[in-house]
Symmetry: C2
Subunit: 298 residues, 2 copies
């Protein structure tokens, strides 16, 4: 059964737990007013899939609550194309929704599945674990800056950075691949230091990062220079990469695993005893960084 | 596990299917701007529980996506009181959410469970089935009218009608009670004729209603007079009663079942062959009514 009844009826797979996550995007807050309908559709689902990725869950179903100022058929078609393009890449089905009149606001709820008691969580990191990050961080902040005309970039570099903000790639395959290896995981939505801080709080430990090891894209380095890019990437949000911790026994398996996925990973530091996130800068000095990333209402 | 990780991990019960429904309330569209925070909290969950009720599902978990113009601690406390008062009555737990800045918009998604393949749907009504309705219809429309100062009422009558709009009682127990008896069910959110029209469309049949049998509350009759109340109640929304169809074999069981629940039910007509909803008026004339209730964007 799908859309049409008062609710959707879903058949859970045997020996699994259900994982649900919900994220809202508000026009003018989470994306600029002139963002394309296609990109809004993609991004609305992608940021939710990223939550499933961080938990090592397999995406199954999603619902969409769409609040629209007016019924614009063309906008809806483009939005749907973006939404379903993202859905198709992750084998997830739309099973319900609600459309209401009001200021443009989009809430997606995703439903995934994990083998019973094998989900990734924020708790579980231990002193001695290495800290890894998928892909690059900082790109999305630069993409948003370009949309807001705070940064200037042209051609392929502009295109790359814009897409990194508006069309993030949820790391679902990475989350599934590390589900048996990682001791803790989180997706980077509020910023690396802020989100890693959540792992530290839940796991009661300290994360020590090497600034020089923060992975930044060539495009971001061309825009800002390497060290400024790495510094900004500590606290910039919206990248939707996965940060995870892994014990020494499992580290050797990671490289070939991610080569198979075609995704780069980088070891950016280690878990220590203590609390909070500490960053070691180029000159070897230690900076303790507050756990706040960018936050609404701040 | 609860709120805190990227998602919530839920353990499905054995031999069940999962039922999910989602509904958004927008300030100024689904409730007046001066509605109390407590009532908004109650109503946001109640309208979603009503969807589970219509499917014969047992409520289990819900998520809340809350978009707020500003962080108002007092408003949030009152809102939470209303939300959890409604939740407590139905043994459903908040397991996740998202809070964002923007125009006041609330999306709740409820997760319920039904024994495998025993959910109620809109399809399944057959010629010869009786059509029943729980409680009274039309009250919510009058309550909204009072809030908008289109109707005047005082004292207990005013209180009753206002509460029927802002604090609907989701008929979860009724939905569970009829799950083994009813051939089709729906909750009345868009209006009796509109929602019954959905049953007719899904079941490929016609519904014939007796206007004189439409159940209206004494309070609504005092406000409008009996026949005008019944006529308005055909197309007024937001009552969140359950309309269901039941075959002749099961009708005798209904009365004692609902006496146990302490909820009145009324037989309002029968399913026939054909299409759409037909209403027989006091003088015996037949009026075919379009299947549109109140609709946004109309």
């Amino acid at each position: 059964m799908g859309i049409g009844d008062d609710g959707a009826v879903l058949q859970p797979s045997p020996a699994t737990q259900t994982v649900i996550a919900v994220d809202t995007l508000v026009c003018g807050v989470h994306f600029p007013e002139h963002a394309s309908a296609y990109d809004i559709g993609w991004r609305t689902l992608a940021v939710n899939l990223s939550d499933l990725a961080a938990m090592g869950a397999t995406p199954r179903w999603f619902t969409l609550a769409l609040t629209l100022p007016e019924l614009d058929q063309h906008w809806l078609e483009e939005f749907s194309k973006g939404l379903f393009a993202c859905a198709a890449g992750h084998d997830i089905s739309l099973v319900g929704g609600d459309t209401t009149a009001g200021p443009l606001t989009l809430t997606v709820q995703v439903v995934g599945e994990v083998p019973t008691d094998q989900y990734l969580s924020r708790a579980g990191a231990q002193a001695g674990d290495a800290i890894y990050l998928t892909g690059f961080v900082g790109d999305a902040m630069a993409g948003l800056g370009i949309m807001q005309e705070r940064y200037a970039a042209q051609g392929a570099r502009r295109e790359y950075l814009l897409n990194r903000f508006m069309k993030p790639s949820p790391r679902v395959d990475a989350g599934l691949a590390i589900a048996q290896l990682a001791s803790a995981a989180i997706d980077i939505s509020d910023g690396l230091v802020a989100d890693l801080g959540h792992i530290c709080a839940a796991s009661q430990c300290c994360a020590e990062l090497q600034l020089r090891d923060i992975p930044v894209s060539p495009q971001l380095v061309e825009l800002l220079g390497k060290e400024p890019a790495q510094t900004l990437a500590l606290s910039s949000g919206d990248d939707y990469e996965i940060c995870f911790t892994v014990g020494p026994n499992f580290e050797p398996q990671l490289k070939s695993l991610f080569e198979t996925l075609g995704l780069n990973i980088t070891r950016i530091g280690h878990i220590k005893t203590g609390t909070g996130v500490v960053v070691i800068t180029a000159d070897g000095s230690t900076v303790a960084i507050g756990s706040k990333g960018y936050q609404h209402f701040s």
